[in-house]
């Protein structure tokens, strides 16, 4: 009995095997091969920035990103409106940046920004490194990138003591932003990111904070292959002492919120944005945003990026 059943089983397996077509056999081989291989998610975001925030994206090896960002004046309210054509005749901040991919995971950058607080004429050097990469099989569900920069102001020191731009040494001119960027590409259309952030400013006025922490959240929703909605928001944690002290001088802190539309045209990325923050560098817009959406004190802005590949094609 057992003999017969063994024979039937073997015979059956033989029949099944013989019915395999060549393409089905190939399917099996390919599936076997794919199983053991990790595929990393690509294009979680398009480019290295959203509205105000950075993204987890680093540049490809030997790629150069030339980036210009612009923030205009208040759209309306006391400082905007028709008299300066809804802010378009003012610029609160302008930044010109070059970033370069040393490897696919490590990007270095330099930039110059006008600066939007009392501290202006800013030079920035930055490092970005992709620590973890999201995989398609979710064995790694997130991408994590570390970012840090050092910013120095080249402006003449204010002779008046206890002002933000009163510099007694070069160190007084410096500030630093450090971030952990954690993102997940949920689908082809939607990616979400959280950004624990630490801003350290070497010299601050009395009752201000050298260290300010913030928690950021950002997202991108693709509407078409070339167009997406982007947004980012930072919840800034300041101590009550500094809030009260600035309030005495008529200044209130707000959390920066940016919303924009992103257009991608093969090599170029163009963001058309609205944000209440005036500054472009984290070192300023996170601790020092004092303009609010609710008083019409938000503005048009744009980010323009052009990527050049410096790798020789074969």
């Amino acid at each position: 009995m057992r003999f017969i059943s063994t024979a039937v089983l073997l015979l059956l397996s033989k029949i099944i095997f013989a019915q395999d077509s060549l393409s089905q056999m190939l399917d099996q081989e390919v599936n076997k091969e794919i199983k053991g291989k990790k595929q990393y998610s690509y294009a979680t975001f398009k480019g290295t920035h959203l509205v105000n925030s950075r993204t987890i994206e680093t540049l490809g090896k030997h790629e150069l990103d030339f980036r210009v960002s612009h923030r205009f004046g208040d759209i309306a309210g006391d400082y905007g409106g028709e008299k300066n054509f809804f802010g378009l005749e003012n610029s609160t901040d302008i930044r010109i940046a070059f970033d370069y991919g040393i490897t696919d995971r490590l990007t270095v950058g330099v930039s110059r920004a006008k600066g939007a607080t009392a501290v202006r004429q800013l030079y920035e050097a930055s490092l970005k490194y992709k620590l973890l990469r999201q995989t398609d099989d979710n064995s790694m569900p997130i991408t994590v990138t570390a970012f840090t920069n050092a910013v120095a102001s080249s402006m003449a020191s204010n002779i008046k003591a206890n002002t933000p731009d009163h510099f007694e040494s070069f160190a007084d001119r410096m500030s630093f932003a450090s971030q952990l960027l954690i993102a997940r590409k949920f689908s082809d259309r939607f990616s979400l990111m959280v950004m624990p952030t630490w801003i350290h400013t070497n010299y601050v006025i009395h009752n201000d904070q050298n260290d300010v922490f913030a928690a950021g959240i950002a997202g991108r929703l693709k509407l078409t292959n070339r167009m997406a909605i982007i947004a980012d928001y930072f919840k800034v944690f300041r101590n009550s002492n500094s809030i009260a002290s600035f309030k005495e001088n008529g200044l209130k802190f707000y959390n920066p919120l940016g919303i924009g539309v992103e257009f991608e045209t093969g090599g170029h990325v163009f963001d058309f944005t609205f944000t209440n923050s005036t500054a472009i560098l984290e070192n300023q817009f996170i601790p020092y945003t004092t303009t609010s959406w609710t008083q019409w004190r938000f503005r048009w802005g744009f980010n323009l990026s052009r990527i050049f590949s410096l790798k020789k094609s074969k």
């Binding site: 003999f3 399917d27 081989e29 696919d104 590949s309 790798k311 094609s313 074969k314």
Partner: protein
């Protein structure tokens, strides 16, 4: 006695099962290159992970390639290729199944060079087209090499080139395939 007949049957079945794999050739590291040429920009990509089976008795061939395996010299192009052109997450593979249209022109058991035509279905970006492509088969030292060059029109596979980059991307790309087959051992 019973035991011996059992063994014999087992051996016979095993042999016949193995016979199915004979006359088949396999590679998993074949190469595909494609090249798009316009006055503004040349784009080239290569994939060194082409899977292919060749059945010399039935004169059949099958190819599969993962779209993500195409490597570009520029990383940005690779993202665009996957995201905007091939929609790789929806259509991860390109496949070809075909038969040698003129099998009398090739003798897989004899060393030599043979030029044949292969007719079959080429599928990519979710679209299948019946195509006939020329191929060169080289048999030597109990190994088979296959080579083919053909053009693919993007419109045939509903691959849309956005107007803004029509200057940079040709509407027709030149594809070349190169496979070194080994005997298929299942």
């Amino acid at each position: 006695m019973k035991k011996i007949s059992k063994l014999a049957l087992f051996a016979v079945l095993l042999y016949s099962a193995n016979a199915g794999a004979q006359g088949k050739w396999y590679t998993r590291n074949g190469k595909i290159n494609f090249f798009s040429e316009t006055s503004a920009e040349n784009i080239d990509a290569s994939n060194n992970e082409v899977f292919s089976l060749l059945d010399q008795d039935k004169n059949e061939v099958a190819f599969q390639v993962l779209i993500t395996g195409f490597k570009f010299s520029k990383a940005l192009m690779q993202d665009h290729f996957n995201e905007n052109f091939m929609e790789t997450s929806k259509f991860p593979k390109a496949t070809f199944q075909g038969v040698i249209a003129d099998p009398s022109k090739v003798d897989f058991t004899k060393d030599g060079d043979y030029n044949v035509n292969i007719t079959g279905n080429l599928t990519m970006h979710g679209v299948s087209n019946k195509v006939t492509i020329p191929a060169h088969i080289h048999v030597a030292d109990k190994k088979i090499a296959g080579e083919s060059k053909f053009d693919v029109k993007l419109a045939d596979y509903k691959i849309k080139v956005p107007e803004i980059v029509t200057q940079q991307v040709s509407d027709k790309v030149a594809v070349s395939v190169n496979c070194q087959y080994e005997p298929y051992a299942r």
